[in-house]
């Protein structure tokens, strides 16, 4: 139960983000979640989109350095302590989070979506599922 995340290498120079987002937009791809990790010279743009295969194809065709990784998309109830519960669940199984970021999508006021990458993807899926947390599949992400 994972979703596909695209990671794009981007140099830190003006206009790079607008070029990439425009490219995806022009190809009918919706961005569901995104984050940037950066250093002085470059960054990695991480994207969850409605159609990862098409996005991958479009980015590669335009010579972007892009990789595809499996990450978790976690649905949380948007209330105090919701995130802490999920973290505790992972922590007790000795799983560490490499990074996480919030998604743009939200069906109701009560739910939030979080994108997570852990050191042990399969174990994290098991731990969270058994802990009663709701993970979103690629299929579901497409329709959200």
């Amino acid at each position: 139960m994972t979703v596909k995340q695209l990671s794009v290498f981007v140099e830190n120079r003006a206009g790079r983000l607008s070029t990439i987002t425009r490219l995806l937009g022009d190809n009918g791809i919706n961005i569901r979640a995104m984050s940037i990790a950066d250093t002085k010279d470059f960054g990695i743009l991480r994207l969850i989109v409605n159609d990862s295969e098409k996005a991958l194809e479009v980015l590669k065709a335009n010579s972007y350095a892009v990789t595809c990784t499996n990450v978790l998309a976690l649905r949380l109830s948007d209330k105090p302590g919701g995130l802490a519960d999920a973290m505790t669940c992972l922590y007790k199984d000795n799983i560490s989070v490499e990074y996480m970021y919030a998604a743009f999508i939200s069906e109701t006021e009560e739910t939030a979506y979080l994108i997570l990458r852990t050191d042990k993807t399969d174990e994290a899926v098991t731990a969270l599922t058994e802990g009663g947390f709701k993970l979103v599949s690629d299929e579901e992400m497409r329709s959200l």
Binding site: S7, F9, E11, A37, T39, I44, S63, A65, T67, R117
Partner: protein, 438 residues
């Protein structure tokens, strides 16, 4: 007595034009014969052009001889241009570079003596006498900088401090403790020593130095002024190529405007690099040297790739030796960065290990103040792609370390997006040199 302080060899340094021409002609005829008899590689070139030693009667016939280029040196590597039995050689020196591009020059004892005499002239022109303490902070080893200035310093009778480069605080300590009066190193290292002197809270007048002899890399007038100010010295330029002997082929005098070529050992010509046509004095073109009294490694009409101008204007120092301006650039692909010879192919050899694909990269050289900056842009290729910053940073670090171990100098590595380096006819533009000389 006064003359001995001004010149190392007044007879040759102040020779009249006619006498010099006669001397050069005599030596050239003998040198051509020596090469013809002992270097089949060059003899074949002469035969292909239908030239024989009989055609060379004076320097006026020099233009009839075929050129030698760096490519010939590579073709003939390692011993194809050796003109004496190896048993008569006492030394080799070599330029830095990958094996394929390395130039190895051979010396007999006479060749070493001639070379060191040339350097001695440079030291005397910079005001050196046997009273001086000469600190040699050029690298020692295969590089001709250390060996050349060391030998010249001995000939002059200076107390020689064979420091080699690096360990700058110790350099300054020795300089002060032993009273070094002449510093010999690359100009960028001299500039760096100047910075360290300042950081240590010392003033130029705290140093016993009076002069510096700097070469092996291009440097500007602006840099000269900074070095002179920071070390409290007069800074003199010295020129040479390992292939020809090493530093000392030409040297600067008190006038500090161009370098006198040791014409009794090397004949200089300026040619049009496209056509090979010889150009008159005062015209910009490629500098070509002919050795006229070398034994082990004579080079006839060797194309240096240095773009330069010759001048026969009367010099205030009294020397009649022709002067060459600071070279304005190289038509070759070799770069000199921080005094080190850098071939793009060396960088390629490092990058090729990081990826299965042919690496695309660009070398960007600039100069900030008096120090060369050296940056390599590396386009990331498919098998380098990653989801984590850490992986890229490790890649950057690995490339940086490997470059340091191959070249001996550090480069800033910048990872860039695929296809982001401008292409020219499908090939990435390999070198951007923004250092402005003159």
């Amino acid at each position: 007595m006064e003359d001995q302080k001004l010149y190392r060899d007044k007879e040759h340094e102040c020779m009249s034009r006619e006498e010099m021409k006669a001397l050069q002609s005599k030596k050239l005829v003998a040198q051509v014969k020596h090469v013809w008899d002992n270097v089949p590689y060059y003899r074949k070139k002469m035969e292909e052009m239908g030239v024989s030693p009989d055609d060379i009667k004076s320097v006026d016939d020099l233009h009839k001889l075929p050129f030698l280029s760096k490519a010939d040196l590579r073709d003939a590597y390692p011993k194809g241009l050796l003109a004496v039995p190896q048993s008569e050689c006492v030394r080799i020196q070599s330029t830095s570079g990958t094996t394929g591009k390395r130039v190895v020059a051979f010396y007999t004892q006479n060749d070493v003596d001639m070379w060191e005499e040339c350097v001695a002239r440079a030291i005397v022109a910079a005001g050196g006498t046997n009273e001086d303490v000469c600190q040699v902070a050029y690298g020692y080893g295969l590089f001709t900088g250390g060996a050349g200035l060391h030998g010249g310093s001995h000939k002059v009778g200076c107390l020689t401090l064979p420091m080699s480069s690096g360990n700058t605080e110790r350099q300054i300590q020795f300089m002060q403790d032993l009273g070094a009066t002449i510093l010999c190193c690359t100009p960028s290292y001299a500039a760096y020593i100047g910075e360290v002197v300042k950081e240590m809270g010392l003033k130029p007048e705290d140093l016993p130095l009076k002069a510096g002899i700097f070469g092996a890399e291009p440097w500007t007038e602006e840099m000269r002024q900074e070095i002179e100010k920071s070390l409290g010295i007069k800074a003199y330029d010295i020129y040479g190529l390992t292939e020809l002997s090493g530093p000392g082929v030409a040297f600067e005098c008190s006038e500090q405007s161009g370098m006198h070529i040791n014409e009794d050992h090397f004949i200089a010509e300026i040619i049009n690099p496209e056509t090979g046509e010889v150009l008159p004095d005062g015209t910009k073109g490629e500098l070509v040297f002919t050795s006229i009294d070398k034994e082990a490694f004579p080079l006839l009409r060797y194309r240096t790739r240095d773009i330069c101008v010759l001048s026969r204007k009367k010099c205030s120092c009294g020397r009649t030796l022709v002067k060459m301006a600071k070279p304005m650039g190289r038509s070759d692909d070799m770069l000199i960065i921080k005094g080190v010879n850098v071939f793009p192919s060396q960088i390629e050899s490092v990058l090729i290990k990081m990826s299965n694909a042919t690496p695309n990269y660009q070398i960007v050289v600039d100069r900030v103040g008096t120090t060369d900056t050296f940056e390599i842009l590396v386009e990331i290729s498919d098998d380098m792609f990653s989801d984590t910053i850490k992986t890229y940073e490790e890649l950057q670090k690995k490339i940086s370390q490997d470059i340091k171990s191959v070249l001996g100098i550090r480069a800033k590595i910048k990872l860039v997006e695929p296809k982001s380096i401008p292409r020219s006819e499908g090939k990435a533009v390999r070198v951007i040199d923004r250092r402005k000389l003159v």
